[in-house]
């Protein structure tokens, strides 16, 4: 598993670093210490602090020369210097048998001619570590930098010296500045594009091409999360894409990209921490170095960008890493925008579909409901959303009969509207069975059962035949709400409940029917469960009892089907009050007018 290399990765704490080598003798070490002091001063470390480092480095170097092994004498003493905003770190690599660094380092007595080197190093630094290795050891020295905020009063000479230092520093920064400038130009260009509905693929391609140029990198891999899968979005140059296996395996231990996602830190690889052979990136990167940056917007992780240097072993500069971070943030914003746009488009499409479905459904309902005196019939259909699954029809049967058919297709939207249309066609194709509700349901079920069960849908329905000549109603139900029948003088309505399985469940179902007289003043109510299950703002259901009372109240006043319908609707709406309609409400009233 790749980790952050100690030496090649730009660490935020250290802005600048340099590596010095000195032959294993006192004069060369002395020269290195002097160089180190000047280098630190040129990187704006105060003169007195740099002088302390000169001594500490000289002492560590002298130790490396004094105790060097016979084999080590031909090898150089190495000094690694790093300076950051808050700290200076120096690593001195020696080829001695090494020593044990103790916690407390005491001064020798005043007469002793030696033994002060380690004490000086300890006094001049904040933190020490001596790492013993095979054949070489590394002495790590660290010291915090004093705050640069306080500027002491300076004389003219000091000012001139600082000016000269600044000029040196500026010329060293020249290259850094020029690449920063290009980076800034790119950032402004991309920020101007943010929020525009540009093609995301094109945006990402241009952005990655700029990243490659600005970071002096020759290969970039962009992966973006699709759900929980990290999918390849883009590889530049694109001819390399074929060499990149899809990241389907979520095994963190063998993918630096997943490791970056998990830790949300940049993961460096190459050099001493090469990619594992099993890493999906290995086919592209081989033993080359680079790093993975996981990017996102806010808390939402969106993907990873991996940069790989195949033609150079140079370490990435911190400015280059920063450029990638910034441009990745822009990419994140653009990805989020693109997704929002997709959702908006999707919801527009859905809305249009619903409008079409609502049109279908409206076209299925009868334009006018026929009445046969002395009976009147009235219907109401209120949809909870644009399209519901409720459907009703009132059809003439010969000279003196009516078929009232009511159905509730499971589900909502386009599929429900579609099956309502199919059901209507099926019913209309069987006029011979209009006077036999049970036979009609049995036949409709046989016709539609296979189609409905294939898509796991079903329909509850009730067929009611009004025999005008004989003043009777005959009803059959397929899993539908019972018919309410009220006759004058009765305290409550009679339930006609010959319930059977809904249409689309059992192709062998044989439906039964019940028949009852409908004397003058009587009324019948055929309805869907949207009425009885309607809720008020307190969450209470309207219920069968209240529907019963509403029907009786309307019918007892010797009104027509129309006025009963209005009374039932008014009571339903009064009960529901401000609560939203959660299901379609459809009902048909039959009244034997006096």
């Amino acid at each position: 598993m790749a980790t952050r290399p100690q030496n090649t990765a730009p660490q935020p704490a250290y802005l600048q670093a340099v590596e010095l080598t000195a032959a294993c003798d006192y004069a060369a070490v002395r020269e290195a210490a002097l160089f180190a002091k000047n280098w630190l001063v040129s990187h704006r470390l105060p003169e007195t602090d740099a002088a302390g480092w000169e001594l500490a480095i000289a002492e560590a170097g002298n130790n490396a020369v004094e105790y060097v092994t016979a084999e080590g004498r031909a090898l150089p003493v190495r000094f690694h210097l790093a300076i950051g905003e808050n700290e200076v770190e120096v690593q001195v690599t020696d080829h001695t048998p090494g020593f044990e660094l103790k916690g407390d380092i005491e001064l020798p007595d005043d007469e002793s001619e030696g033994g002060r080197g380690l004490f000086l190093i300890k006094s001049l630094t904040d933190e020490l570590a001596y790492l013993r290795g095979r054949g070489e050891n590394r002495f790590v020295l660290r010291k915090r930098r004093a705050s640069t905020a306080a500027i002491p009063s300076l004389d003219i000479l000091e000012l001139q010296r600082r000016l000269a230092e600044t000029e040196i520093a500026l010329s060293e920064m020249g290259e850094e500045l020029s690449s920063s400038y290009e980076g800034l130009v790119a950032m402004f260009r991309y920020s101007a594009e943010l929020g525009k509905n540009a093609d995301l693929g094109d945006f990402a391609r241009r952005l990655l091409a700029d990243v490659l140029q600005l970071t002096e990198t020759d290969l970039a891999v962009l992966r973006v999360f699709q759900g929980t899968n990290l999918e390849t979005f883009l590889v530049l140059p694109s001819k390399d894409e074929a060499a990149l296996p899809v990241l389907t395996d979520l095994d963190v231990s063998r993918s630096v990209e997943l490791e970056a996602v998990k830790t949300r830190e940049d993961i460096w690889f190459g050099g001493r921490q090469p990619l594992a052979g099993t890493d999906p990136l290995h086919g592209l990167a081989g033993a080359h170095g680079g790093f993975v940056h996981a990017f996102g917007a806010g808390d939402q992780l969106l993907g990873t960008i991996t940069l790989i240097r195949r033609q150079s072993h140079a370490a990435f500069r911190s400015a280059q890493v920063n450029i990638l971070h910034t441009l990745a943030d822009f990419l994140a914003i653009q990805i989020v925008n693109a997704r929002l746009l997709d959702e908006r488009t999707q919801s527009r499409v859905t809305r249009r579909e619903l409008e079409i479905a609502a049109n279908i459904q409206r076209s299925l309902l009868p334009v006018s409901v026929p009445s046969l005196p002395p009976f009147s019939v009235a219907a109401s259909c209120t949809n909870a959303r644009e399209v519901g699954g409720d459907f009703y029809d009132v059809l003439r049967v010969g000279e003196d009969g009516l078929l009232i058919f009511i159905a509730d297709v499971m589900g909502k939207g386009v599929p429900a509207a579609f099956f309502a249309a199919v059901l209507r066609s099926a019913v209309h194709s069987m006029p011979a069975l209009y006077s036999e509700p049970a036979a009609l349901l049995t036949s409709v079920n046989r016709t539609l059962c296979d189609d409905l069960s294939r898509v796991d849908m079903f329909v509850t329905a009730q067929a009611v035949f009004l025999d005008v000549a004989n003043r009777r109603v005959t009803a059959a139900s397929a899993g539908h709400c019972p018919l309410l029948l009220w006759q004058p003088g009765q305290p409550a309505a009679q339930l006609m409940d010959e319930a059977n399985v809904p249409i689309g469940i059992d192709i062998e179902a044989e439906y039964k029917e019940a028949s009852a007289p409908l004397p003058p003043g009587a009324a019948a109510l055929i309805y869907t469960d949207g009425l009885t299950e309607a809720c008020n703002p307190m969450g209470e259901m309207y219920g069968l009892e209240r529907l019963n009372q509403s029907l009786i109240a309307g019918a007892a006043e010797k009104k027509t089907a129309d006025t009963i319908r209005e009374a039932v609707l008014a009571d339903l709406n009064a009960f529901r009050a401000a609560a939203p309609l959660t299901d379609d409400q459809t009902f048909v009233v039959i009244s034997h007018n006096l």
């Binding site: 003798d25 006192y26 004069a27 070490v29 002395r30 002088a51 000169e54 001594l55 000289a58 002492e59 002298n62 020369v65 004094e66 001064l107 005043d110 007469e111 002793s112 001619e113 030696g114 033994g115 002060r116 080197g117 004490f119 000086l120 006094s123």
Partner: protein, 101 residues
């Protein structure tokens, strides 16, 4: 480095630039070579010394012990601030007579 004996009791070393591991033992040997039993004062002019390490300090101690064997002393003349700081850090400012003027 110049080594002079302005009086029979005094040996004066001037023109020192660095007292470090690379040159400290040669300097010590050169001074000892000029040292006579009559010398009771060894003046080391440190006003031009820009850098001193622990080997340089060891050389100062060594010369101090040499002088003591002939009932003499080492005087450090006008050490630069850097050098003075190192002497204080290692508490050797108590061992030597330091002359600042």
């Amino acid at each position: 480095m110049k080594i002079q004996s302005p009086t029979p009791q005094t040996l004066v070393v001037t023109g020192l630039q660095e007292l470090v591991a690379g040159n400290a033992s040669q300097m010590r040997d050169a001074i000892r070579a000029e040292l006579k039993p009559a010398h009771t004062v060894l003046d080391l002019d440190l006003s031009t010394v820009t850098f001193l390490d622990s080997s340089g300090l060891g050389t100062l101690i060594s010369l101090h012990k040499t002088m003591r064997t002939q009932n003499g002393t080492v005087r450090l003349i006008k050490p630069t601030p850097n050098v003075h700081q190192i002497l204080e850090l290692t508490r050797l400012h108590r061992v030597f007579e330091i002359v600042n003027s």
